[in-house]
Protein backbone atom coordinates (compact mmCIF):
# COMPACT_ATOMS: atom_id res chain seq x y z
CA UNK A 1 0.00 0.00 0.00
CA UNK A 2 2.98 2.29 0.44
CA UNK A 3 3.53 2.95 -3.23
CA UNK A 4 -0.20 3.18 -3.89
CA UNK A 5 -0.35 6.07 -1.42
CA UNK A 6 2.84 7.49 -2.90
CA UNK A 7 1.40 7.58 -6.39
CA UNK A 8 -1.87 9.08 -5.14
CA UNK A 9 0.18 12.10 -4.04
CA UNK A 10 1.53 12.37 -7.58
CA UNK A 11 -1.85 12.62 -9.34
CA UNK A 12 -1.81 15.42 -11.92
CA UNK A 13 1.97 15.45 -12.10
CA UNK A 14 3.92 14.81 -15.30
CA UNK A 15 5.64 11.44 -15.26
CA UNK A 16 7.50 9.24 -17.71
CA UNK A 17 6.61 5.55 -17.78
CA UNK A 18 9.00 3.02 -19.26
CA UNK A 19 7.43 -0.34 -20.03
CA UNK A 20 9.04 -3.75 -20.11
CA UNK A 21 8.74 -3.80 -23.91
CA UNK A 22 10.96 -0.67 -23.96
CA UNK A 23 8.15 1.69 -24.98
CA UNK A 24 8.43 4.98 -23.08
CA UNK A 25 5.47 7.30 -22.53
CA UNK A 26 5.16 10.68 -20.88
CA UNK A 27 1.93 12.09 -19.56
CA UNK A 28 -0.07 13.44 -16.68
CA UNK A 29 -0.96 10.91 -13.98
CA UNK A 30 -4.72 10.75 -13.77
CA UNK A 31 -5.18 7.87 -11.36
CA UNK A 32 -3.61 4.78 -9.85
CA UNK A 33 -4.95 1.70 -8.10
CA UNK A 34 -3.75 -0.90 -5.59
CA UNK A 35 -2.10 -2.93 -8.36
CA UNK A 36 -0.28 0.22 -9.49
CA UNK A 37 -2.23 0.16 -12.76
CA UNK A 38 -1.91 3.66 -14.17
CA UNK A 39 -4.15 5.94 -16.11
CA UNK A 40 -2.26 8.61 -18.01
CA UNK A 41 -3.67 11.64 -19.83
CA UNK A 42 -2.07 13.87 -22.49
CA UNK A 43 0.09 10.90 -23.39
CA UNK A 44 3.06 11.27 -25.70
CA UNK A 45 5.30 8.49 -26.93
CA UNK A 46 8.99 9.25 -26.39
CA UNK A 47 10.31 7.70 -29.60
CA UNK A 48 7.35 8.57 -31.83
CA UNK A 49 9.07 7.65 -35.10
CA UNK A 50 9.68 4.12 -33.92
CA UNK A 51 6.08 3.56 -32.81
CA UNK A 52 3.89 5.49 -35.27
CA UNK A 53 0.84 3.40 -34.34
CA UNK A 54 0.82 4.98 -30.89
CA UNK A 55 0.73 8.65 -31.94
CA UNK A 56 -3.07 8.83 -31.97
CA UNK A 57 -3.39 7.88 -28.30
CA UNK A 58 -4.09 10.60 -25.79
CA UNK A 59 -5.43 8.77 -22.78
CA UNK A 60 -4.03 5.40 -21.74
CA UNK A 61 -4.57 2.74 -19.13
CA UNK A 62 -1.38 0.84 -18.32
CA UNK A 63 -1.45 -2.50 -16.50
CA UNK A 64 0.85 -2.24 -13.50
CA UNK A 65 2.70 -5.45 -14.26
CA UNK A 66 4.08 -4.19 -17.58
CA UNK A 67 5.80 -1.17 -16.05
CA UNK A 68 9.58 -1.27 -15.64
CA UNK A 69 10.31 2.28 -14.45
CA UNK A 70 8.42 5.45 -13.65
CA UNK A 71 10.43 8.67 -13.77
CA UNK A 72 9.18 11.35 -11.42
CA UNK A 73 10.20 14.99 -11.02
CA UNK A 74 12.41 15.18 -7.96
CA UNK A 75 10.62 18.26 -6.64
CA UNK A 76 7.33 16.40 -6.38
CA UNK A 77 8.66 13.90 -3.86
CA UNK A 78 8.86 14.52 -0.13
CA UNK A 79 11.88 12.37 0.51
CA UNK A 80 11.76 12.46 4.31
CA UNK A 81 8.10 11.49 4.43
CA UNK A 82 8.72 8.65 2.01
CA UNK A 83 11.68 7.29 3.96
CA UNK A 84 9.74 7.46 7.23
CA UNK A 85 6.82 5.61 5.71
CA UNK A 86 9.14 2.94 4.29
CA UNK A 87 10.86 2.44 7.64
CA UNK A 88 7.56 2.18 9.48
CA UNK A 89 5.96 -0.15 7.02
CA UNK A 90 8.89 -2.53 6.92
CA UNK A 91 9.46 -2.93 10.63
CA UNK A 92 9.06 -6.61 11.27
CA UNK A 93 6.17 -7.27 13.57
CA UNK A 94 7.63 -10.49 14.94
CA UNK A 95 8.68 -10.39 18.60
Amino acid sequence: MLFYSFFKTLVNKEIAVELKNDVALTGRLHSVDQYLNIKLLETKVVDAERYPQLTSMTSVFIRGSVVRYIQIPKADVDVDLLQDAARKQNTSSQP
Binding site: L2, F3, F6, R68, Q83, A86, S92, Q94
Partner: protein
Protein backbone atom coordinates in the same frame (compact mmCIF):
# COMPACT_ATOMS: atom_id res chain seq x y z
CA UNK B 1 21.35 -2.41 17.44
CA UNK B 2 18.36 -3.05 15.17
CA UNK B 3 17.63 -6.72 14.82
CA UNK B 4 17.75 -8.26 11.35
CA UNK B 5 15.26 -11.07 11.09
CA UNK B 6 14.54 -11.24 7.39
CA UNK B 7 16.34 -10.25 4.20
CA UNK B 8 13.99 -7.29 3.88
CA UNK B 9 15.29 -5.97 7.19
CA UNK B 10 18.74 -5.85 5.60
CA UNK B 11 17.40 -3.60 2.87
CA UNK B 12 15.76 -1.44 5.52
CA UNK B 13 19.24 -0.64 6.83
CA UNK B 14 20.08 0.82 3.41
CA UNK B 15 17.31 3.45 3.37
CA UNK B 16 18.85 6.86 2.68
CA UNK B 17 22.03 5.13 1.51
CA UNK B 18 23.33 4.52 -1.98
CA UNK B 19 22.69 1.01 -3.25
CA UNK B 20 23.38 -1.15 -6.27
CA UNK B 21 20.46 -2.94 -7.92
CA UNK B 22 20.88 -5.64 -10.56
CA UNK B 23 17.81 -5.81 -12.80
CA UNK B 24 16.47 -8.07 -15.50
CA UNK B 25 17.57 -7.29 -19.03
CA UNK B 26 21.26 -6.82 -18.11
CA UNK B 27 20.51 -3.56 -16.37
CA UNK B 28 22.12 -2.14 -13.28
CA UNK B 29 21.06 0.81 -11.17
CA UNK B 30 23.04 2.83 -8.68
CA UNK B 31 21.11 5.31 -6.62
CA UNK B 32 19.97 6.43 -3.20
CA UNK B 33 17.23 4.28 -1.74
CA UNK B 34 14.24 6.17 -0.37
CA UNK B 35 11.53 3.53 -0.17
CA UNK B 36 10.84 -0.11 -0.85
CA UNK B 37 8.16 -2.70 -0.16
CA UNK B 38 7.85 -6.47 0.12
CA UNK B 39 7.67 -6.79 -3.68
CA UNK B 40 10.97 -4.91 -3.92
CA UNK B 41 9.27 -2.01 -5.67
CA UNK B 42 11.66 0.87 -4.92
CA UNK B 43 12.05 4.60 -5.23
CA UNK B 44 15.62 5.73 -5.90
CA UNK B 45 17.07 9.20 -6.46
CA UNK B 46 20.16 10.41 -8.36
CA UNK B 47 20.15 7.15 -10.26
CA UNK B 48 22.62 5.97 -12.85
CA UNK B 49 21.27 3.16 -15.04
CA UNK B 50 23.76 1.00 -16.92
CA UNK B 51 22.48 -1.19 -19.75
CA UNK B 52 24.91 -3.83 -20.99
CA UNK B 53 24.56 -5.33 -24.46
CA UNK B 54 26.75 -7.87 -26.18
CA UNK B 55 27.30 -7.36 -29.90
CA UNK B 56 28.80 -10.17 -31.90
CA UNK B 57 30.68 -9.35 -35.07
CA UNK B 58 29.45 -11.87 -37.66
CA UNK B 59 32.71 -12.00 -39.60
CA UNK B 60 35.29 -12.13 -36.87
CA UNK B 61 33.04 -13.83 -34.25
CA UNK B 62 34.37 -11.28 -31.75
CA UNK B 63 32.08 -10.29 -28.92
CA UNK B 64 31.94 -6.65 -27.91
CA UNK B 65 30.44 -5.62 -24.60
CA UNK B 66 28.64 -2.32 -24.96
CA UNK B 67 27.37 -0.29 -22.05
CA UNK B 68 24.93 2.60 -22.16
CA UNK B 69 24.44 4.87 -19.16
CA UNK B 70 21.62 7.17 -18.23
CA UNK B 71 20.98 9.52 -15.31
CA UNK B 72 17.57 9.95 -13.72
CA UNK B 73 16.71 12.28 -10.82
CA UNK B 74 13.96 10.24 -9.23
CA UNK B 75 12.92 6.77 -10.31
CA UNK B 76 10.30 4.24 -9.26
CA UNK B 77 11.44 0.69 -10.06
CA UNK B 78 8.93 -2.13 -10.20
CA UNK B 79 9.88 -5.04 -8.01
CA UNK B 80 9.42 -7.78 -10.56
CA UNK B 81 12.41 -6.46 -12.55
CA UNK B 82 14.76 -6.65 -9.58
CA UNK B 83 17.28 -9.47 -9.28
CA UNK B 84 19.49 -8.31 -6.40
CA UNK B 85 20.02 -5.37 -4.06
CA UNK B 86 23.38 -4.61 -2.44
CA UNK B 87 25.55 -1.78 -1.16
CA UNK B 88 27.45 -0.18 -4.07
CA UNK B 89 30.45 -2.16 -5.34
CA UNK B 90 33.69 -0.59 -4.27
CA UNK B 91 35.42 -0.95 -7.66
CA UNK B 92 33.20 1.65 -9.35
Amino acid sequence: MTECREPLDLIRLSIDERIYVKCKGDRELRGKLHAYDQHLNMVLSDVEETITTICKDDETQEEFTNTKKRQVDMLFVRGDCTILVAPPLRTT
